[in-house]
Amino acid sequence: MPTTNRTLVPFSIAAELEANRPLWPAALLPPDRVEAARAAASALPPIFHWVILEGRLTGADPRVDLMACLIDGPGVRDRVAAALRRPQAPLLEDARPLLEAWARPAAHARRRCMERTPLLWLEWDAPFDRAPFQLPFIDRRFWGDPGAPAAGVDELVAMIADGYAATFAEPYPDVTLALFRRVITALPRGARALAAASLRPRGIPRERLFVSVPQPLVLAWLDAVGWPGERAPLRTWLPRIVAPWEEAFLQIELDPATGAVTGYLGVEPRQTELSLVERRERGRLFARLVADGLADPARVAAIEAWTGAPSRRGPHRVVRSVHLKCVFQPAAPLEVKAYLGLHLRERGPARPVARLVH
């Protein structure tokens, strides 16, 4: 278990949304929408490690969606199991099958998959009246055990199959698993398959796959899997979104009905705690979005304000996070979503990986 996970502190989502009420930037996250998310989360147990409010940097949609995650660590699964012994609010009950399988993998038919799942994300879309999008990760080395053997394609596909079965109590059709296998097999050296989930809770009969791919290899992989989207805007924007030395975090959608990849593509730069270099690169992207009329400066400033807010409060270190997702879809302008979040860590010195000697 990596040290980073040991220092995470579980918390009440509603309490943290409330405690940070003055800091959620109104230009990006309208206060009434934040309050709706807080109210929806008020019945959730204090078991989560990360909360995110999702707003839109582009367009006019004022929606604010809610996301939370569970990260494996000492005592985490026991806490989830204890919470599930009681009836929970619909927000959580709708995810009970997956959560129970993860909390008590030894008692579950999908034991191996659930034991190796390092984290789960749940995403509730406003107005919070339907089951969450449930995203089990399949890469043990990502936020899990960095020393674990890298999974091969067979194991990854088996984990995707088991995650779906644990969530929906029915198996994926063979054609869907074959589609997952095809696109994962096509990943280039240096890439990773991270997570997969069905869009079924949103009423969409498609599957979403999350991967990381070295930025210079993104277009080649999309060609290899038959992504049908337009290349020109992606060629323009990809180097603005993800620096050439970084991994691009991609989301593609698979349509089992056609056996093909759809035109949807989400591109995220590395989720960041904001080093100087990362802030500079993000600033370059913001400048281009504003210059091209896709984002207004007030919403950009709102993001900057969030990450510039004080990082310490009470007995724990509050780590504020921002990540962006740029969505390419057929016949639609580039959409950029902003995910403002926080997690709590036990206080302690952070050690850099590499630093210049002064």
């Binding site: 990596p2 040290t3 980073t4 080395r141 960095p146 020393g147 053997p149 890298a150 050296r189 240096g190 890439a191 990773r192 070295p214 210079p216 990809l238 180097p239 620096a243 050439p244 030395w245 970084e246 080093s275 100087l276 270099v277 990362e278 500079r280 050690r351 850099p352 990986v353 590499a354 630093r355 210049l356 000697v357 002064h358």
Partner: protein, 128 residues
Amino acid sequence: MSWSQETLDIMTTVLRNSMTVGRVVAFDVDVDAVQEDALPQDAAIEAVLYRRDGADASDGGAIAQRGAVARIDGGDDGRRSYRVSFEAPASGDYQVVLRWPNAGDDRGTTHYEALALPGSDDGLLRVR
């Protein structure tokens, strides 16, 4: 690798991150073990310059140059020091990146660190 006075002077200049003219640009970097990760093998560390201004950057930030990485102390299990050097590149703004393979990952994934050079508000290496 030997280091002439000229090189050391240039190194000092680079650490101030001001204009640099000369044969080599160089600086020292500590690589720390974070969490419980193993330190990389010396020979596995790669230093790369990426152009971050002008047409090259807008065209995707082409790799401008691969540098040399040399161990400069014995280190221990938790930290090692390296001298990173590049033949002085053409005038421009550059991002310095260290990269090494993730231990035990046969998929070829790498760990990367984009270094923020001191002396500027954006961390870029500026060569004029």
